[in-house]
């Protein structure tokens, strides 16, 4: 008997389906063989190195407690806390901005609508270094914001090369993805719910607060977790703006290249990996399997 017929998740199979020739024999074996190359590459070049990294983090004289020592080192703790604060701030601002824009784009259609959506989702695949350069174009020494503020007030506002610039960069990077998620979720909303609320006398604000936002909650949590994880682990933007910005990826990079403190770099990367992985696990558990992958 074919193992396939036992599989309850293939409901449409007729019970008395004639097994054609040798085509179905040994299917589990064949599937395992199809999976094998990817599994081998993955195990050799990801799982094994990851285990090695975890062991190196605990490889010093202190053993596993080195993880704790590395974490409570004042410099590292400071960097971890500022990265957490930055990512939380970026997530909140991105969610607010993208929800307003995304809801508007789903609920109103007007000439130029498609172009606007295309432009808003364009920077989706920009690498961190390019995002950093976009921030320099906006808020750098020769940036738009500096030019405008100089014309208006006489003082040049330049904040690209600091935590504020990084904040702008991560919001810039996250907006397209979150807008797409909000739009996809808002398109699935049942318009009758909103009509019912209106007919019962709810004001537009009440409709948004009591009907629309609760319905969007899973999408917002999942998009927010994704945005948080990306902001925690991103490296290119900080690298472009200034190496002095105190965020965890920059700290790891400095420990590794300048201090040659490989154990601390390993321990901090494992810690950072745990945080981003946990945030994405939240995203997946809330949104089921339909969550968009992080870029």
């Amino acid at each position: 008997m074919s193992a396939c017929a036992q599989d309850a998740s293939l409901p449409h199979r007729p019970a008395a389906f004639p097994r054609a020739g040798s085509g179905w024999k040994g299917e589990p074996l064949r599937l395992a063989a199809l999976l094998a190359p990817a599994a081998a590459v993955f195990a050799a070049f990801f799982l094994l190195p990851l285990v090695r990294l975890i062991l190196i983090g605990a490889g010093g004289a202190e053993g596993w407690s080195a993880y704790l020592t590395t974490l409570i080192d004042p410099g590292h703790l400071d960097s971890l806390l500022s990265t957490l604060a930055l990512s939380a701030g970026v997530t909140l601002v991105t969610l607010a901005v993208s929800t307003v824009a995304g809801l508007f784009l789903v609920r109103h259609h007007f000439p130029g609508h498609a172009l606007l959506v295309a432009l808003l989702t364009f920077p989706l695949a920009f690498p961190g270094v390019v995002i950093g350069f976009m921030v320099i174009m906006l808020a750098g020494r020769q940036g738009v914001i500096g030019t405008i503020t100089q014309a208006l007030t006489g003082g040049k506002l330049v904040f690209a090369y600091s935590m504020a610039g990084l904040f702008l960069g991560y919001v810039y990077f996250s907006i397209p993805r979150v807008i797409l998620t909000v739009m996809a979720a808002a398109e699935k909303l049942d318009p009758r719910l909103e009509e019912a609320a209106r007919s019962l006398g709810a004001s537009p604000w009440r409709v948004v607060a009591d009907v629309i936002l609760p319905a969007l909650k899973p999408a917002l949590i999942s998009a927010g977790a994704l945005c948080f994880a990306t902001s925690m682990g991103a490296f290119g933007t900080a690298f472009t703006l200034a190496t002095r910005i105190n965020v965890l990826p920059m700290t790891i990079y400095t420990e590794f290249t300048l201090q040659a403190n490989i154990a601390a770099a390993a321990a901090l990367s494992v810690l950072l990996g745990l945080i981003t992985w946990a945030a994405l696990a939240v995203a997946r558990s809330v949104a089921g399997t339909s969550v968009a992958a992080a870029g």
Binding site: R13, R30, L34, A118, A125, A229, F256
Partner: protein, 267 residues
């Protein structure tokens, strides 16, 4: 004004204004950097005249990085096709707890920061032969990072068509597995394979988080060169270089947007 139409009331215009502002935030720096790459002297402004001088300079100095990035991107595409499409098929054929676990594991290189993956690769394989100084070292990182995007794109399409019935039809006519895979499974997954391929190429050409630690002076990719030029050269060259990068990824981004509009879930 609000009484004229309740749809186009004050709220509409405020929200439209806000959305346009967000759009400006995203597009103004792109346009500025493209113009800066074509301006003779950015500090003086457009009145200094337009020129292709900076683009030529970038192509002269950095053509090596551009070629290496393309080489890695297409090698990465070949690897993710060979590894990813059979994986997606196996996962689609036997959905369940194990398939979910495999998918979850494959996603890990995306969930974990590239910096951590790169460090792990360096401490494990940095001393093995000449691998550290070879472009293959970067390729390994890119394959790990892009493989889940290929698997997910193909899996999404395989989940939306009735693969079992199609295959059974072919099997009942006597087609063996290889024949079914080549003539039934693959053609039906075209759109997913195409979307996955575009995604893999775009991500590989732009990958920096992993590549910065994995590269050596002899294996500089385009984003590594970009970071170099932003840090050390005049803004016109950085801009012209960014312009070249945009020109490389824009075609695939537009194609991807077109594909997702036709109802395919985008990755």
């Amino acid at each position: 004004m609000q009484t004229l139409s309740n749809r186009r009331g004050l709220g509409f215009w405020l929200q439209l204004g806000f959305t346009l502002l967000v759009c400006a935030l995203l597009t103004v720096p792109m346009v500025m950097s493209m113009l800066a790459g074509l301006t003779a002297n950015y500090f003086v402004g457009l009145k200094s005249g337009l020129t292709l001088r900076w683009v030529e300079e970038v192509l002269r100095v950095y053509s090596g990085t551009i070629l290496l990035s393309l080489q890695i991107a297409f090698a990465c595409l070949a690897c993710t096709l060979v590894l990813g499409v059979p994986t997606a098929y196996a996962l689609a054929r036997r959905p369940g707890r194990i398939a979910r676990l495999v998918e979850e594991l494959l996603m890990m290189p995306v969930a974990i920061p590239g910096l951590a993956t790169a460090l792990a690769l360096i401490v494990t394989y940095g001393g093995v032969g000449d691998l550290r100084s070879s472009w293959l070292f970067i390729l390994i990182g890119h394959v790990l990072f892009t493989l889940p995007f290929m698997v997910r794109a193909v899996l999404a399409v395989m989940g939306s068509i009735d693969l079992t019935t199609l295959e059974e039809g072919a099997a009942s006519l006597g087609a063996g597995f290889l024949r079914r895979f080549a003539t039934v499974v693959l053609p039906n997954c075209r759109s997913g394979i195409l979307a996955g391929s575009l995604m893999v190429l775009t991500l590989s050409v732009g990958e920096f988080n992993l590549t910065w630690l994995l590269h050596t002076p002899l294996t500089k990719t385009l984003p590594v060169g970009l970071a170099d030029s932003y840090a050390s050269l005049r803004i016109e060259i950085g801009s012209a270089y960014t312009l070249v990068f945009f020109l490389m990824i824009v075609p695939s981004l537009i194609l991807l947007q077109g594909l997702s509009k036709r109802g395919r879930p985008s990755v």
